[in-house]
């Protein structure tokens, strides 16, 4: 089994507007990717690109319109019969830890609750031992969280507690939806380093959803860039972010402010009018902002092109190349036959 999670042609359509002016928005449009065991897979893109919707479908909060999700090789609906087992294997970490925890309950109550719900330990002493072990893994001690309310923690601490809670069930996959965007830049690294450590020590797979390309580059193994519901570039993180192919990936990559006063932005960018417009665009969703857009981009949806180094890119620019390569391969085969 080489795939922990496989998402195949996932589509989710939302209807918006009143009864009379109903428009359909394809929030997730034919998305396919997979996550291997002990791999950190990043899903990156602007806000409103469908990355959270994808996470919600994987976690079972939303029903997909079409498409299939395989977990450990079995379709997700077979897991629905034993939802507790699925939830035990797939745990989530959310954006804002202060919203994750009920402010009126102490943080340790959530730990006890999780242990009880999943029947992780029987005896009272065992329960505490399990909680202690998990907290230790994230660099907290049980004394630090016992009897304290969420408001008494700093954002970074509480986010680490939230990860420790997710680890209680020994999950195979952690779905982390923007886990660092509410955390200070100086504490971000403590969370991101934690994912690395968990991957190495427990063989945990992580779906790391983020708009922060700098941490995505630092922590993940493979990355998919999403734009208005489509994955437009996917591959090993070193290739995608150091040698971005799609014009949108290039824009994203250049927009990360580098902590170096010598590297200031010179070029100006055009900004989208509304997300809505881009979603309803025919053809490539980026055509309105793309500096290299042609008429073809505005009408025709680009196909997936697999480049030699294992990067997938969805752009008409590379289809040409693909055609050329295909021709070369074709002619080689033809010459062999001769």
């Amino acid at each position: 089994m080489d795939k922990t999670l496989e998402v195949k042609n996932l589509t989710k359509i939302f209807s918006v507007g009143s009864i009379f002016s109903r428009t359909k928005i394809t929030a997730v449009d034919n998305v396919s990717f997979h996550i291997r065991p002990a791999e950190i897979f990043a899903l990156a893109g602007e806000s409103g690109c469908g990355k959270t919707t994808t996470a919600k479908i994987i976690l079972g909060f939303e029903e997909p319109t079409s498409g299939e999700i395989l977990f450990k090789g079995k379709p997700i609906w077979t897991w629905r019969r034993k939802p507790r087992q699925y939830m035990k294997d797939v745990q989530a970490v959310f954006q804002n830890p202060f919203e994750t925890f009920n402010p009126l309950k102490t943080v340790d109550e959530f730990f006890y609750e999780t242990v009880r719900n999943y029947g992780i330990a029987e005896h009272k002493n065992d329960v505490e031992a399990v909680i202690r072990a998990r907290l230790e893994a994230v660099g907290l001690s049980f004394e630090e969280i016992r009897g304290r309310y969420p408001s008494e923690f700093s954002g970074g601490q509480l986010q680490r507690a939230s990860i420790a809670r997710a680890l209680l069930t020994n999950p195979c996959l952690l779905v982390a939806d923007e886990p660092v965007s509410m955390v200070d830049a100086s504490l971000r690294m403590s969370i991101v380093n934690l994912f690395k450590k968990l991957k190495d020590e427990f063989g945990l797979s992580v779906l790391y959803i983020t708009h922060d390309l700098a941490t995505a580059y630092y922590v993940s193994d493979r990355i998919a860039i999403m734009l208005r519901g489509n994955i437009i570039e996917m591959g090993p993180v070193d290739l995608v972010l150091t040698k971005p192919r799609h014009p949108y990936t290039r824009l994203l990559r250049e927009s990360v402010p580098e902590p170096d006063p010598q590297k200031k932005w010179v070029q100006k960018i055009t900004v989208t009018t509304t997300e809505h417009e881009e979603y309803l665009r025919k053809g490539c969703k980026f055509a309105g902002r793309c500096p290299m857009a042609t008429n073809r981009c505005k009408t025709e949806v680009p196909k997936e092109c697999f480049l030699e180094d294992g990067v997938m890119v969805k752009c008409h620019l590379y289809e040409q190349e693909d055609v050329m390569q295909a021709e070369i391969i074709g002619s080689q085969q033809a010459s062999k036959k001769r």
Partner: protein, 332 residues
Amino acid sequence: MKENGVVLKAEHLKAFYVLRSFGRQVLVKAVNDVNLEIHKGKVFGIAGESGCGKSTLLKGLFAAIVPPLRLFGGRVLYRIEGQDVEVLSLSPEAKRQIKWKFISYVPQGSMSVLNPIAKIKRTFRDVLESHDRNVEEALEMAKKHLTELGLPSKVLHCYPHQLSGGMRQRVTIALATLLQPDVILADEPTTALDVVTQRSVIQLLKDIQEKWGNTLVLVTHDMGVHANMADRIAIMYAGSIVEEATTQEIFGNPCHPYTRYLINSLPRFGEKSMRESVPGNPPSLSALPDGCPFHPRCPHVLRVCREQVPNLINIGNDHKVACWLIGGEHNG
């Protein structure tokens, strides 16, 4: 203040939150003896982790000290029309007159600053009317201002919820700069925005600053944004400024151990080596440790660090640091 281009000066500013807990008075020392000098036409960055008092400092500079925040000493001077004005002691009416016209403020969280049940144009009209512009003129002015900033003027007819997060933030900035203020105080203007939107917001602030030559005080924890925008950076830790220098100096020659952590912890493209974040947790502002507030987390702690607070001293090259390790002989 002499004619040396200083437009804003804070002297020994102390502003604490006064809270009651279990019948006892608790002081949260959010701004603890801060001295600042900001020159005209420059971008001054204030960096630090959340809860270090940077937003409170900005409130102090904007003369918006309202309970539970109380002033415990110090002055904030602005140079307005060739005169030095101490803003903290002004009457509410006088404060109202200078706000938006000379000093303006871009608040944190643009999601919640615009009135959700009023169209954008009404908010614009409110600002203009409160500064004695007449109503007919107001809408024209708002339109002109928006086009000048490159924003579509149709946003005036929208409700806040109809705009995207980035657009709302840019509208808030447009609103804050409507009367072309001398000093703009911006509190985390790009936090919670994604990279492309963040870039557009920064681009807008830069454009405004270049066009009208205002002074910009920028508060954010994102060192990347500071590297891109600021001329000078002050690093704040636990209510006080621990290092202040030009952007080049801060990134090229960080002296305070805290600043070094901040800069070295940043991930960079093309480099995957292990990055350490600052160890430990920020101290509670209501129970600061004795001596240097950073000493419990500092790897190079000395005995003197635990006992005495270091002063902010100039170590040359217009670079100020508050640390016993650096220039200890000048200190104390």
